[in-house]
């Protein structure tokens, strides 16, 4: 999960980044026999990409039903221009990408936004599974000016107040985007930390400036992560890492949740208003999804029925989350010369005698050979192996497992 440059820090919690030894990064790049630098760099890029995949380990129980509060620091420190155009705008534009992606990858999870500035914290958008509302909030926040000092304690208290009443089977998380180097708290933050820990909330911090001891302590105590970004690209990577559901805490209870699979068309439906946009007075029509319990109409799913409280989802929504639970196995890296195949099984790319094709990848189940790009693509977005599903024996067994 960590980037290579912060790995050292995590292995040795005592040592801060600025205390560690001087790294000679340029020495990792070596010339090959003919004096080219490119193969070495290609290899480093490929390794970095694959490492990220390999580190993603599944099979542990995951907190699939996430309730995440994103706390955004909107203090004076956000006006700094080390991230372009400013830290403030950079963060918000990343959140703009993060929010829809979060809802897409975690369909039955909820998100909320809390802002801290002027020594106070305020909830700007409540926990909900409607990305549109959050995006509107983010738009509003772009207009808001960054003032005063932030307060970690106040913002955690705000998050705590709403997270602690959630049912016990949910994964409660807080993600703090923190730019300031100080926090202005009304009382003892340790007391809040104990409460947060008791409520089983996982706090992660993405720092925009530097490591701060209090953030490190909080994340350590609550089993979250603490990382500091190098630049805007890195910041985006760090925030996007929180798209994947975290391992479930041991204290999480398991329950059965009642859900409904709405019908898209109701044959004897009368034109009706959809329940999600009642305030905007939508036009009457019969299109939409009908709650199987109370026949209330919704124009978009997933939603929680406002009338009977039933959670409304569709089968693809559930299947979207299954990929976190049944991930694609890692492919083994083999030399091209060892494989008999001349082209990538999946994209039909002919392997050439160039450096990028030196290593190919083999699925351990179906033994088909894939090129590097397909390996990354299949693990990153498809999550199914075309070789396995094209094999009648494997695909049938696979189907039975689920």
């Amino acid at each position: 999960m960590m980037q290579p440059d912060v790995e050292a820090m995590d292995e040795d919690p005592k040592e801060y980044r600025w205390e560690s030894g001087y790294e000679k990064t340029w020495e990792a790049i070596k010339e090959d026999e003919s004096g080219f630098l490119e193969p070495s760099i290609t290899e480093m890029i490929m390794r970095a990409k694959r490492r990220r995949l390999l580190e993603r380990e599944a099979s542990v129980r995951l907190g699939i039903m996430r309730h995440l509060y994103v706390i955004v620091d909107m203090s004076q420190a956000m006006n700094e221009q080390d991230l372009k155009p400013t830290r403030h705008l950079c963060c918000l534009s990343i959140l703009n990408d993060f929010i829809p992606e979060f809802h897409e990858q975690n369909p039955i999870s909820q998100l909320g936004l809390i802002i801290t500035q002027n020594k106070t914290a305020k909830k700007y958008s409540n926990l909900s599974n409607n990305p549109q509302r959050h995006l509107e909030t983010v738009k509003k926040l772009k207009e808001l000016s960054c003032r005063g000092e932030p307060s970690i304690q106040n913002s955690l208290e705000v998050a705590l107040a709403s997270l602690k009443h959630l049912p016990p089977h949910t994964s409660r998380e807080v993600l703090i985007l923190y730019a300031a180097l100080t926090t202005c708290d009304p009382g003892e933050i340790e007391a809040t930390l104990t409460k947060v820990k008791e409520a089983n909330i996982r706090v992660s911090v993405v720092g925009l400036a530097a490591e701060i001891r209090i953030c490190k302590t909080i994340t350590k105590e609550t089993e979250g992560t603490f990382v500091v970004c190098l630049n805007d690209v890195h910041l985006k990577e760090l925030i996007m890492e929180h798209l994947e559901p975290p391992p479930a805490s041991k204290k999480i209870d398991h329950t059965l949740i009642k859900v409904g699979f709405p019908h898209q068309i109701n044959t004897d439906a009368k034109p009706a208003l959809c329940m999600c946009h009642l305030e905007d007075l939508p036009s009457l029509n019969t299109e939409g999804y009908y709650c199987p319990q109370c026949s209330a109409k919704y124009c978009d799913l997933p939603a929680e029925c406002k009338v009977c409280g039933l959670m409304l989802v569709t089968a693809p929504h559930l299947a979207r989350s299954y990929r976190h639970l049944f991930p694609l196995q890692h492919f083994t890296e083999i030399l091209l010369s060892q494989s008999s195949s001349k082209s990538c099984y999946s994209c039909y790319k002919m392997f050439k005698e160039i450096y990028a094709d030196k290593n190919v990848f083999q699925c351990p189940k179906c033994n088909q050979i894939f090129c590097f790009d397909c390996d990354i693509f299949l693990h990153d977005s498809v999550h199914s192996c075309p070789g396995c599903v094209s094999n009648p024996v494997i695909s049938q067994n696979y189907g039975n497992v689920e």
Binding site: I64, I257, Y322, C347
Partner: protein, 288 residues
């Protein structure tokens, strides 16, 4: 409108056809011939309609999926036969040869379902490769067309959804043309990816629907009166009886779907707490 058609002919369109060649086609010999001729004609039509159009055909039967065209073992240049465009006769020849090869290698069939989903996965990676090879300056306007004849077993639901979600992310429409019986799984796919779904009653009518419905590109489709998509059934099948349910209980840990409240999740072995919404009378609760 003139401007769009001009830009389209410059950019061309990559069509990936996923062709179901399940042996059940052979039960009626004339039908198989019509079917394959239709698809070949459609492929020719696509290539002939614009010089910039590109084509790939992936076949799937019960035992494997296989690239029919392009075939990298063939060299592209061939002599003109009967004054036909070289490319078209080349396509015909390759399709014929590769289909023959595929038929010979496959064994007796026991499954009623073709491995369409495998071919779909290969199509996605193919499109991704062409996209990355072409670079950023060129739009390739890719789309996938699935032509399916075999019946559907529904055992590979998760894999299908994985493919659909990837296609949706790539903004790649997947058109579905089924022959014979309706297929809910493919219908969902068309709905998710923004493609078209259409059921053809018999093989004789395939050519007409391919030309009228699946030939136009995405821009022209907006101006056409296409058959309505109808409602899509998004219900899930419960893990215990594999029957479609309206309301169900879902395990909070692994999202397994159960049609009735169960004390233990059979997928992840999680024991459920008893404060769940129970419809059973309290007496029975003790026995559980």
């Amino acid at each position: 409108m003139a401007s769009t058609s001009a830009s389209d002919s410059e950019e061309g369109c990559l069509l990936v056809i996923i062709l179901d060649v399940h042996p059940c086609l052979a039960s009626n010999e004339g039908e198989a011939e019509v079917y394959l001729n239709t698809v070949t004609a459609f492929a020719n039509l696509h290539l002939a309609s614009s010089g910039a159009n590109r084509l790939a055909i992936i076949a799937a039967n019960h035992a494997q999926s296989c690239y029919l065209y392009p075939d990298q073992s063939h060299e592209e240049v061939e002599r003109q036969i009967d004054g036909r465009l070289e490319l078209l006769s080349h396509v015909d020849k390759i399709l014929h040869e590769n289909l023959k090869k595929m038929m010979v290698t496959t064994t007796i069939f026991t499954q009623s379902e073709s491995l369409i989903v495998g071919a779909l996965g290969r199509a996605l990676t193919y499109v991704r490769r062409i996209e990355s090879e072409d670079g950023l300056n060129k739009k390739i306007n890719a789309r996938i067309l699935v032509i399916k004849v075999s019946t559907d077993a529904g055992g590979q639901y998760l894999n299908y959804v994985n493919m659909y979600l990837t296609a949706q992310k790539m903004r790649l429409p997947v058109d579905m043309c089924v022959i014979g019986s309706d297929c809910g799984l493919l219908q969902q796919g068309a709905d998710i990816t923004g493609g078209l779904y259409y059921k053809v009653n018999s093989v004789d009518k395939l050519m007409q629907s391919l030309m009228m419905i699946f030939m136009p590109n995405l821009d022209s489709r907006r101006r056409l009166a296409l058959p309505p998509s109808g409602s899509v059934d998004y219900r899930a099948a419960c893990f215990c009886h594999r029957s479609l349910v309206d309301m169900a209980h879902v395990c909070s840990n692994c999202l397994s779907v159960y049609c009735k409240a169960v004390p233990l999740c059979s997928t992840c072995n999680a024991l459920f707490g008893m404060e769940m919404p129970i419809r059973k009378p309290p007496k029975k609760k003790k026995n559980d």
